[in-house]
Amino acid sequence: MSSLIRVHDPRGYPPKVSGKRLAPRLEALDGKILYLVDCLFDNSEVFMNQLRDWFEQHLPRVIVRTIKPHESWVDDPAMREIIVAEGDAAILGVGL
């Protein structure tokens, strides 16, 4: 029978995951301000413009605004502040 040996675990130490709750959902989108966040990935602007057009044509009572972070792949607190202060909901895309 082969002898048993003991070795180290090669993995690092992950952060503890704390559960977070989702924000309360809206009863309906009518009359609400919906931000479309263009994440600046190549061609995401074209996608978001098409999404904005879809809402304007099919759900015109939804107030749609598009917004962009100041830089790709970096959190933009100023942009988030605007959405939180003025918006009711957000769709982010198209990113990873």
Binding site: H8, P10, G12, K20, R25, E27, Q50, H70, W73, I91
Partner: protein, 432 residues
């Protein structure tokens, strides 16, 4: 934004399904609302993207637009309000097992690069730890495979474990610790398959018999090979993995990811060593990091037509990835003969002669994604570039984007231009 009370839905392309679900889970939001369109979005026309919007969700099925609206308006379930707490702590030691079973376990868990490893027994790790004055439980840094992933932390001992696995000798350990302390991963999750290339300068090169001469960038030296491999293994294991579709999304992968560490040939270079250019003394030992590893141009000389060859080679580089001119000492001295008596003079020539028409420059995917927002924000030179006529030649690189290093054994006057944006230089001496 969910934490600030804003209901959100994120839109992704279908190939990122496993990755984005994993990211949501490790952020404590496993039921985050996500919707999926087909890959790719890049290169698709407005009409094609409209068809995505009016079609079905590419992963869950059902109308894509309904998934967006439901994600913002459906009543929350109990699990949405609870989130998910969990502890993923990793043990210091694995349960005892046979050698064969342990090899299998390391491979099945993707803790290797699929080449044979050295099992990190307690005795081997202890021997590695003797090569540094730092305590085993000292925190070295934190790593992540991408900016949107969580950061994992690691100690001197955890770095030693991976150094052992790579087959490194204890005397290499300060260099490996310096690489770990950079907090730059060699296993980025980028879809571009970026690699991290490292170059060592200073006395440590000779102390541990690194190769800066014949074959320095190939598999011809124990220290070069195993330090580079250790950097890769520690990156993937200490950052929480590098698993395709989950924590690695590089479409093609990168051969530099196996091992890409070499030493500068300071003894045969006519110029200042690279680490001295970056604030260290010649007698210091340091390791410098370059992000990229995408393209390689090659040539000999400098010959009579070197300027034409260099202009073509530089124009073929990716404008988002700064070039590293890796020159054999014969090439470096050839440039000195032509009046380039400092690296900076050669860099300046490259800046003036790396030109790309504005139309091609702005059509580059990464320029669009990463530099266009800066141009729109008024940051120079990109703001002026954006105003240029399509045919106007633009300078692809700033002086700080270009690096010159000397490496090779003078068996031929050969040069390479490697993709490698300079990131930082880390002291090795601090980790002795």
């Amino acid at each position: 934004m969910e934490a600030d009370g804003i209901p959100t839905v994120s839109v992704h392309t279908h190939v990122f399904t496993r990755l984005v679900r994993s990211v949501a889970r490790v952020n404590g939001l496993p039921t985050l609302r996500q919707a999926f369109v087909p890959q790719p979005v890049v290169g698709r026309s407005a009409g094609e993207l409209r068809a995505y919007i009016e079609g079905d969700d590419a992963v869950e099925g059902g109308p894509f637009i309904k998934r967006l609206i439901d994600g913002l308006t459906d009543v929350l379930r109990q699990e949405d309000e609870a989130g998910m707490d969990f502890d993923r702590s990793t043990p210091r030691l694995l349960d005892p097992d046979t050698e064969d079973n342990l090899y299998q376990r390391f491979e099945e868990n993707r803790w290797t690069d699929f080449l044979p490893i050295v099992l990190p027994t307690e005795a081997r790790v202890e021997a590695m730890l003797k090569a540094t004055s730092h305590a085993p439980d000292k925190v070295v840094g934190r790593l992540q495979p991408a900016r949107f992933r969580e950061l994992w932390e690691y100690t001197v001992e955890k770095v030693a474990v991976n150094a052992v696995m790579a087959g490194a000798r204890p005397e290499y350990f300060p260099v490996i610790l310096a690489l770990a302390a950079s907090c730059v991963t060699a296993r980025s999750s980028s879809t571009t398959s970026q690699a991290t290339i490292a170059m060592v300068n200073g006395p440590v090169r000779n102390e541990i018999n690194m190769n800066s001469g014949i074959g320095a960038m190939g598999p011809y030296n124990h220290a070069n090979a195993t330090i580079g491999r250790a950097y890769g293994l520690l990156s993937q294991n200490l950052q929480g993995g590098s698993v395709p579709s989950e924590s690695f999304m590089g479409s093609q992968g990168n051969v530099h990811s196996y091992s890409a560490v070499f030493a500068e040939n300071e003894e045969r270079s006519p110029w200042e060593p690279f680490h001295v250019q970056h604030g260290h003394k010649a007698e210091d030992s340091a390791v410098s990091l370059f992000m990229g590893g995408w393209y390689i141009q090659f040539g000999g000389g400098p010959r009579e037509t070197w300027e034409e060859k260099f202009r073509r080679s530089l124009a073929a580089c990716d404008p988002y990835s700064g070039p590293v001119l890796a020159l054999d000492p014969l090439v470096a001295r050839g440039f000195v003969d032509r009046g380039f008596d400092t690296k900076q003079k050669l860099i300046q020539w490259c800046v003036e002669n790396s030109l790309l028409p504005a139309r091609e420059y702005w059509d580059n995917q990464w320029v669009q994604t990463l530099l266009l927002p800066q141009a729109v924000a008024g940051i120079e030179p990109y703001a002026s570039f954006l105003k240029a006529e399509p045919g106007t030649p633009l300078k692809m690189f700033r002086p700080e984007d270009i690096s010159v290093v000397v490496v090779g054994g003078e068996t031929g006057a050969m040069w390479k231009i490697l993709s490698g944006t300079y990131l930082k230089t880390i002291s090795v001496d601090e980790w002795r």
